[in-house]
């Protein structure tokens, strides 16, 4: 399964952190620091795989650089390295479609939306969608729901909350 998806920038600042098994936040930060240490010591134009022992002997790490960002996926031996690279491509493509030529700032200022996109692609460490157009479709749905809270109001109790605003 996929253990974590992390996006950090070239200064080591985390932009997206999602662990699929519970890790205390201090541990998360430590892991990110270690990964950054490994990644920034690697030359350009080298392979995208790193043997990684963050989660035990069998875990691997695939990373890909897009402009100023490292996209990182940590996974175990139930996944295929090259397929995960494809998956990262799907993720970035989706971001691209949603933000139009995505850049670091988009990810910085759209914390919630990026999480939503990721959750449509990976759930519980399993890949649930590989088509970026499907993800975009779902995301449009969700955005509509978010903007239009009335659409799911069913319980009368909530009306008071609505009026309170």
């Amino acid at each position: 399964m996929i253990r974590a998806v992390i996006v950090i920038n070239d200064q080591g600042k985390p932009r997206l952190v999602k662990f699929y098994d519970y890790q205390p936040v201090e541990k998360q930060q430590e892991i990110i620091r270690n990964i950054y240490g490994v990644l920034c010591s690697r030359a350009e134009n080298v392979s995208n795989f790193v043997q990684d022992s963050t989660f035990g002997p069998d875990t691997r790490l695939v990373y890909k650089t897009f402009a100023t960002l490292y996209f990182i996926v940590i996974f175990d031996d139930s996944e295929n390295e090259l397929a995960i690279l494809d998956l990262m491509q799907v993720f970035v493509e989706t971001l691209d479609k949603c933000f139009g030529n995505v850049c670091e700032l988009d990810i910085v200022f759209n914390f919630n939306k990026v999480h939503t996109i990721l959750d449509e692609i990976i759930l519980g460490g399993q890949v649930v969608e590989m088509s970026s157009s499907e993800v975009v479709k779902a995301l449009d749905d969700i955005t509509r729901l978010e903007k239009n809270p009335n659409s799911i109001v069913r319980v009368p109790k909530s009306i008071s909350g609505w009026q309170g605003r």
Binding site: M1, P14, V17, Y20, D21, Y22, V25, E26, Q28, Q29, R42, A43, N45, V46, S47, F49, V50, Q51, D77, S78, N80, E81, L82, A83, L85, D86, V108, F109, F111, N112, H115, T116, D119, E120, L123, G124, G125, Q126, V127, V128, E129, M130, S131, E134, A138, D141, I142, L145, E146, P149, S151, I152, V153, R154, K157, S158, G161, W162, G164, R165
Partner: protein, 914 residues
């Protein structure tokens, strides 16, 4: 306006949004300014989150979640607010609540209990995105309680809309692992989803779950092999195929007939597919689980070669990994690609270099180890420090594997170790130190070479400047001291040990140097003072163990020093002249005297030992200097007596100690290890007294012959408490405080009840376990003159006691697989009740088989990695039997079914496998 409403309204009007927060953080420089801004914002959040307005609360929670996830701020205190928001009617707020929960909740939180009902409600919502939120959250924070309470809800979702179904399936994995009984409820429907050809993503999720489950305990999923086979043949989705390949890689190891069946389609995929990921997965499956099929392996190796020659570094890396997987069973594949592998050692990519190194190491055998190490040393010299050390490390570990199994020429290996020490970047001092000493102890034949290599390292003053090899120098010093008798020129070693630059060494290593000085000094004095018989008596052990033992390669050196010493002493007189010894003593005294005041206790003590001996010897020897004729008297000198004693003490060989030596000493009856030792205090109080008393009491026993020397020896601050002396001290103490000693069975000698763990003289001892132990360590009975190609290497712990790493399956995995078996078999049973009885026979047989596995398993699994081959045979026999019984008829029937009726296929697993 009420007092409560005011601030809340203000908060909501002027509340910073998440964007404001992010902008603020970006405005402040990282460090103090930023963290003070964050803590200010946190104060705001604490206030805002209590608001009754859910919009304000949601924004506050959003900000807090952001800070938690990306800045590591604790938010456990806000857990309740997150739960509260999940029940909000607004989708946005609900989503905020769920995001906060899935990013920050830990399994032990009390507040989780409050979430159960909300999760249930959202799981059954008509809005699919609400269901997704709940599923996502559950997949991260699932606890056994959640899993138990929500299993029915998830079960319903397993046949719902595809958008939800795939997510529910992905979530199942977590649910199963938390609550194995959920398998009984959901498994059948999960299996049904294997047929959902309509939606590739649902199928992918289902296969993904099975892949995870099968990787933990594959056996339970054997009955589903027909389903997976169908997918393997029919599916065109790479993602699905990759997972199915992984499943078959697990299953094929258990069932050879299955392997025969699926190897063909896998090869088809490998030949046909354009997708590198799928091709690589085929390669990996073939080389790790189907390596018995020659044609498949050939094809896989050809694909690996394509990868290796690709310009894409990722593919090259994976190609090397593929080779690494082939290596154990088909070394030819590695040898075939030898050039590429060796070339990869100087690749720009560190990963590729490392894999190549591993491959090179996999090619090592006793024939080519010398050659490969030569090549590697060359690469080590050229490489960057990090990789250089990686090379050295893997050479060290490969050569020392299984007690230096592949090393035949130890003289070569010792010189290799010495060469490594001289590589500028070498940082493996510790390992080299260990191996030098280890080899010295285990391999008698190599000691002369070891001393020679040690000498070369010691006399090189340049090496002392490199802190990384201090540990190696420490080993060299120890070896030179311990085996000084093989040295061509002990005086030279003495000079090397005392050279001024040794002050660069850390105290711990310096004290090893000084102790070695002591050994060399006593050896020289012994050779000088007691040329004839003394040596014989002191070496008696050594000679006893190896009668007529000759050093084949270094015989010359040997004759020069030791051999000559023990026989006639002609040569020796050349080496150990009075002048040389006197010079040496002067050197020792002048170099070490400044250290007698060292602040380091170890150094100080050892220096004083050496000085004590050296000064005494100097006095007496230079007194004799004038009357050269009185050489005969040398034997009677005090120094000679002491030297004889010291040499007796030092002449005993150190041997390797068994890992389990300590465990093998049985705990004596009546010894309570946890006994309260508080009474010791009162006893310790008069320990001092007893020592001083026994001191005078004991001396006469020690040396009853010569009254004069006794008093002398007492005057001298004797630091070498001889074994006999300490023994009697112990006896004295035992008499006084018998209560605290173990009852000893034999009263003869206190020492024999606590023998050293690995004393070569222990053979007569009657403690059973120790006899066993020493017997093993003393397989040294060498036949005189036998010319062995490889020297004897003393081994302990062979096989029997090596820590065996057993892959222990999780209790949960057992539970899951148990439940899976129940479901699958129960399933079949119920289906079969309506079937013709002939079929039931086959089915019950398969059930037997599975049960058979279950019982035989626990013991077999443990020894699986050792006698894997046998295990497979066993199973084959087993399946042969079942073949005979339930054979042909079913096969025919299945053909008649045309493979369409999948349910039928499922029941007749053995048929499929035939």
């Amino acid at each position: 306006m009420s007092g409560g409403g005011g601030p809340s309204l203000m908060d909501s009007l002027f509340q910073r949004t998440l964007d404001d927060l992010i902008k603020g953080i970006r405005l402040h420089l990282p460090g103090a300014a930023q963290s003070s801004f964050i803590s200010k914002s946190l104060d705001e959040i604490r206030r805002e989150i209590k608001s009754t307005d859910s919009q304000t609360k949601a924004t506050a929670l959003q900000k807090l979640t952001y800070l938690h996830s990306l800045h590591g701020i604790d938010m456990s205190w806000a857990a309740f607010h997150a739960v509260e928001l999940t029940s909000s009617p607004s989708f946005l707020h609900k989503k905020t609540g769920y995001l906060a929960a899935s990013l920050s909740f830990r399994p032990s939180m009390d507040v989780l209990l409050l979430l159960t009902n909300q999760l249930r409600k959202d799981l059954s919502s008509t809005n699919q995105h609400e269901v997704s939120l709940a599923l996502e959250c559950l997949s991260v924070i699932c606890t056994p309680d959640f899993a138990r309470d929500l299993t029915p809800d998830i079960f319903t979702l397993l046949s719902g809309k595809n958008f939800i179904r795939k997510k529910a399936i992905a979530c199942l994995l977590m649910v199963f692992s938390q609550y194995p009984d959920a398998v009984r409820v959901c498994f059948k429907r999960l299996v049904d989803n294997l047929e959902s050809a309509d939606n590739a993503q649902t199928l992918a999720a289902t296969v993904g779950v099975f892949c995870e489950l099968a990787s933990k305990e594959p056996r339970s999923y054997l009955p589903l092999a027909p389903e997976f086979y169908r997918i393997l043949v029919d599916s065109r989705n790479n993602w699905v195929l990759i997972k199915v390949l992984k499943i078959f890689a697990h299953l094929a190891k258990l069932e050879p007939r299955l392997a025969k069946k699926v190897v063909e389609p896998i090869c088809d995929h490998m030949k046909r597919s354009e997708a590198k990921s799928l091709v690589f997965e085929c390669v990996r499956a073939i080389v790790s689980s189907f390596y018995e099929f020659e044609f498949a392996v050939k094809l896989a190796v050809a694909k690996i070669r394509e990868f290796l020659l690709d310009s894409d570094l990722n593919l090259r890396y994976l190609g090397l990994q593929g080779l690494l997987l082939v290596a154990p069973n088909h070394l030819w594949a590695v040898l075939e690609n030898k050039e590429v592998v060796i070339k990869s050692l100087s690749d720009v990519d560190r990963n590729i270099k490392l894999e190549a190194l591993r491959l090179v190491m996999s090619m090592v055998s006793d024939d080519n180890v010398v050659e490969i190490c030569r090549v590697l040393i060359g690469y080590a010299l050229k490489s960057d420090p990090e990789f250089c050390n990686e090379i050295l490390r893997s050479m060290l570990s490969t050569c020392s594997r299984n007690v230096y199994e592949i090393v035949i020429d130890f003289d070569w290996y010792v010189s290799l170790l010495a060469e490594m020490a001289r590589i500028p970047h070498c940082q493996n001092g510790e390992e080299i130190e260990f191996q030098l000493i280890d080899i010295g102890m285990r391999v008698k034949d190599v000691r002369p070479e070891l001393v020679r290599a040690g000498r070369d390292l010691l006399i090189d003053p340049a090496l002392l400047g490199n802190p990384f090899i201090h540990r190696i120098l420490s080993a060299a010093a120890w070896v030179s001291g311990e085996y000084v008798k093989f040295s061509r020129n002990p005086f030279e070693i003495m000079e090397a040990l005392l050279q001024p630059r040794t002050n660069l060494l850390p105290p711990s290593i310096r004290s090893v140097y000084i102790h070695s000085t002591f050994k060399v000094l006593s050896f020289c004095l012994h050779s000088f003072l007691l040329p004839g018989k003394g040596v014989n008596s002191s070496r008696s052990n050594f000679v006893d163990i190896e009668p007529g033992f000759t050093y084949s390669e270094s015989e010359q050196e040997f004759t020069e020093t030791d051999h000559a010493t023990s026989s006639s002493g002609f040569n020796k007189r050349d080496t150990f002249t009075q002048e040389a010894v006197v010079n040496m003593l002067t050197l020792v005294i002048t170099s070490l005297t400044p250290l007698a005041e060292s602040h380091d206790v170890e150094i100080q003590e050892r220096v004083r030992n050496v000085l004590g001996l050296a000064q005494l010897a100097q006095q007496e020897i230079s007194c004799n200097h004038d009357q050269k004729e009185k050489m005969v008297d040398k034997v009677d000198l005090k120094t000679s007596i002491i030297i004889r004693l010291i040499n007796d003490a030092l002449s005993e060989d150190f041997g390797p100690v068994s890992l389990s030596a300590q465990e093998r000493v049985p705990v004596p009856n009546g010894l309570v290890l946890e006994e309260n030792l508080s009474k010791l205090d009162s006893i310790c109080a008069d320990v001092q007294l007893s020592i001083s008393e026994s001191f005078s009491l004991v001396k006469p026993i020690l040396l009853p012959t010569d009254g004069d020397s006794v008093s002398n020896q007492q005057n001298e601050e004797d630091s070498e408490t001889s074994p006999a002396e300490s023994m009697s001290l112990l006896a004295e103490h035992r008499k006084r405080h018998g209560l605290f000693y173990l009852p000893s069975d034999h009263n003869k000698n206190a020492s024999s009840s606590f023998p050293p763990a690995n004393d070569p003289n222990q053979r007569d001892n009657d403690v059973e376990d120790l006899v066993k132990l020493t017997d093993e360590s003393l397989v040294l009975k060498r036949k005189p003159g036998s010319n062995r190609p490889r020297p004897v290497v003393v081994k302990l712990d062979e096989g029997e006691r090596l820590p065996i790493t057993v892959k222990k399956t999780d209790e949960n995995d057992d539970l899951i697989s148990g439940a899976v078996r129940d479901v699958l078999l129960g399933n079949e049973a119920s289906l079969h009740s309506s079937n013709p009885s002939g079929r039931r026979k086959g089915e019950s047989h398969s059930k037997d088989k599975v049960e058979n596995f279950e019982t035989g398993n626990s013991s077999k699994r443990r020894s699986k990695h050792r006698n894997h081959g046998k295990y497979v045979e066993d199973k084959e026999e087993n399946s042969e039997k079942s073949k005979k019984k339930s054979g042909g008829r079913h096969k025919a029937r299945r053909r008649a079914d045309g493979g369409i009726d999948v349910a039928v296929q499922k029941q007749v697993i053995p048929d499929f496998l035939l």
